[in-house]
């Protein structure tokens, strides 16, 4: 055994070479890994290309015109009216209502968990909020239609609140987005260095003063990012509005009246067997592209804010 080893060593020494050897296995694997990494670029290109192409076809169809789409307030495909405003206002309505719920509550939860709750309470509450975040949105849709809407109709009167309405969809969407905002905000709050809190406490600040006047301002950009991500999520949220907000575009600002959002419209239109190259088919691509651009811009802004925020503390 020992002899063998010595022999091997001798052999090795006599042919020693430090030159780079081709390692085909390594190269192939590296190529595959690179492909996996690059694949995500294909997805983005696919989205931009497919949505862009069909959206272009949409605007080339007879009777469709970009200017009219952006300026008129009727979306009636069967009579060739494609004004995006009714879809846009209801998307805005649901988003606004959702954020009116999710921002204050989400911030409240985050401040409570990060500044007030003792560790034991925090470690029980956080999983509960995670459950809330993990429930599929169709279940929230069911909740909106069978719980929130009857509740609203009970409160405001059955003749005021329609069976489908943006209010109930927006409120439930707020509950859906609450855990998203609270967990991102909490991350931002707990990234504020402990020494800052100590400084404030040592100056005789109360817990509230430390939380609201020192910690929250220091985490402001992280909180802003959380809010923007929340908005982007609300704009793209689909099943709640598809179930509860109403079928049929409707140019209204009343939260008690049914009105279809962009996403709700896409779902309803594609629910049947959509035939290729029909005007409906092309219109969902145009709407999809519109959604993609809005959410992309929002996400990019939020990431830029987060990056700057990190630089401050790292």
């Amino acid at each position: 055994m020992a002899e063998l080893t010595v022999k091997n060593l001798e052999k090795k020494a006599s042919t020693i070479s430090l030159r780079r050897k081709p390692r085909w296995g390594e190269t192939i694997i590296q190529g595959l890994l690179f492909f996996s990494g690059f694949f995500s670029i294909f997805i983005t290109l696919g989205i931009v290309y497919e949505l862009g192409k069909e959206a272009l076809l949409f605007f080339q169809m007879p009777g469709v015109d970009l200017l009219a789409t952006l300026t008129t307030t009727e979306w009636k495909p069967h009579v060739n009216k494609f004004g995006i405003w009714p879809l846009l206002t209801s998307t805005l309505m649901t988003t606004l209502i959702a954020m009116a719920i999710a921002i204050p509550l989400g911030m409240g939860v985050a401040v409570y968990l990060s500044e007030y709750a003792i560790p034991k309470v925090r470690s029980t509450l956080k999983p509960i909020l995670e459950i809330l975040a993990g429930i599929p949105t169709i279940v929230y849709g069911y909740f909106a239609l069978t719980f929130m809407t009857p509740l609203l109709r009970e409160i405001f009167g059955k003749d005021v609140v329609q069976i489908y309405n943006t209010g109930s969809a927006g409120l439930v969407m707020g509950i859906l987005i609450l855990p998203l905002i609270s967990s991102m905000t909490e991350d931002a709050l707990s990234a504020v260095p402990r020494s800052l809190r100590e400084a404030a406490y040592a100056m005789g600040a109360t817990k509230l003063e430390v939380a609201l006047q020192i910690v929250v301002p220091a985490a402001l950009s992280g909180i802003a990012a959380a809010i923007i991500v929340g908005i982007s999520r609300a704009v793209g949220e689909t099943m709640i509005v598809a179930v509860a907000a109403g079928a049929g575009p409707n140019f209204t600002f009343s939260p008690f009246i049914g009105a279809e959002t962009i996403t709700g419209h896409i779902v309803r239109i594609s629910g049947g067997d959509l035939s290729y190259d029909s005007i409906d088919y092309n219109s969902i691509f145009a709407l999809g592209l519109f959604l993609f651009i809005i959410t992309l811009v929002l996400n990019i802004i939020s990431q830029a804010i987060v990056r700057r925020f990190r630089e401050v503390y790292e």
Binding site: E26, F39, G134, T137, T206, M239, S270, Y276
Partner: protein, 413 residues
């Protein structure tokens, strides 16, 4: 001391500060409680619809089926088969016999057929769980007054049979087997696409990619894709998998002629669409898991002359795997709950046969919930509630396994 403070221009304001502190503390706590109440309300609302009284009328009076004084529910299997044979048209009877021979069916199954095909109960009214508990006398009175021929039963919409029965249009006999199988088939292709690509991309970004503009673009792109609304993926799937790759996704390319679906709206298309949707999430989670493996381990491996891939394969991956799997499971549970993209890709509304190949038409559990929720009748809401419970149990067990996995392996370093 107070006197000194006032001289200095400071006011003793501690009481009001503390009062304010308490008010806000209550507000913060209340926000948290609101969140928890919402969760409880959501669960109770589902449970409320999933159980309760049902009043139904038989289209054919079971009493008229009594033979020799034996009521139909006590008859033997042979008697029931004879009953089916004499009542159904011979075509319908033979079709049933062809599906599964009557000799191979159990008595329970045959009895089920008798109920479905001959007695055919029709729901006249349903009540939710809470009223069923608190106002049962009133409900009984209503039924005897308004539907004198109706039976009143307390039913659980969620039963073992509900999970194992195929979908039908009759609420009392509908089940979610078709939808559950559809979900599982779909997820299979989601995993096949997203897991290898996702883990590969994460390894590339964490271990191979150098810090340059190109790799930064890849990383930024992945982060952005994670924020794209799911419905946009549905539209992409419609354009790419359903339409452009129709020959592949419908199975024509492989010479498979599927009677049920001649277009690309198949399980395969749905799975691949969801695969694209969860890919960025899997990548981000896997990156985190890989980053958690200490640098020193890699250095140790490089230090004994291992190549990069040897290091990744035998040191980094085994240690990162629990984390990667946990992240993947969480991404998969997101995919299982997705509805919107599948509606766009073209989930079928009413199919009652189980998916049997990648090229089958499909429905999934969330789609089924969506459809039933959209029906105005109360009984379909109850079916939706029962399927929500099935879906939540499925997701809960997935999440539980992720947590177990994490706890089991997390104390490595």
């Amino acid at each position: 001391m107070k006197e000194i403070a006032i001289v200095q221009g400071f006011e003793n304001n501690l009481d009001s500060r503390n009062r304010k502190g308490i008010i806000w503390h209550v507000l913060f706590q209340a926000s948290t409680i609101v969140g928890i109440i919402a969760l409880i309300a959501l669960m109770l609302n589902v449970i409320d619809s999933a159980f309760g009284y049902v009043a139904y009328e038989a289209r054919m009076d079971p009493d008229s089926l009594t033979v020799d004084g034996i009521p139909v529910e006590d008859q033997s299997k042979d008697q029931l088969v004879a009953l089916l044979q004499s009542t159904l048209s011979s075509g319908a009877y033979n079709k049933l016999d062809n599906e599964t021979l009557f000799v191979d069916r159990s008595r329970e199954e045959v009895f089920q057929l008798v109920v479905e095909r001959i007695i055919r109960p029709k729901i006249v009214q349903v009540w939710k769980f809470w009223p069923s508990l608190t106002r049962s006398d009133e409900i009984r009175a209503t039924v005897t007054r308004e539907y004198p021929k109706a039976e009143l039963d307390f039913v659980s919409w969620l039963t073992y049979d509900f999970v194992t029965r195929p979908q039908t249009s009759e609420p009392l006999t509908a089940g979610v087997r078709t939808a559950v199988l559809g979900s599982l088939w779909t997820i299979l292709f989601t995993i096949l696409l997203a897991f290898p690509l996702g883990v590969g991309a994460a390894i590339y970004l964490e271990e191979y990619a150098s810090e340059n503009w190109f790799n930064r673009i890849i990383q930024t792109n992945i982060n952005n894709l994670a924020g794209v609304p799911s419905i946009v993926y549905g539209i992409l799937g419609l354009a790419i998998f359903v339409r452009a790759l129709e020959r592949f996704t419908s199975g024509k390319m492989f010479g498979i002629v599927n009677l049920t679906s001649e277009n690309g709206r198949t399980v395969l298309s749905a799975g691949l669409t969801l695969g694209l949707l969860v890919l960025p999430i899997i990548i981000i989670n896997a990156q985190e898991a890989i980053r958690a493996v200490p640098r020193s381990l890699r250095n140790a491996s490089f230090g004994v002359g291992a190549t990069k891939w040897q290091t990744v394969w035998s040191h980094m991956l085994p240690n990162a795997l629990p984390g990667i799997l946990t992240g993947t499971i969480l991404a998969i549970s997101r995919a299982i709950g997705e509805t919107a993209p599948l509606v766009v890709v073209g989930a079928s509304t009413a199919i009652s046969f189980d998916p049997s190949s990648p090229f089958s038409k499909f429905t999934t559990l969330p789609i089924q919930i969506y459809q039933w929720t959209s029906r105005p009748q109360e009984e379909f809401r109850s079916l939706a509630a029962a399927s929500i419970l099935v879906l939540l149990v499925l997701l809960l067990s997935l999440n539980a396994s992720a947590v177990l996995l994490r706890n089991r392996f997390s104390r490595r370093f």
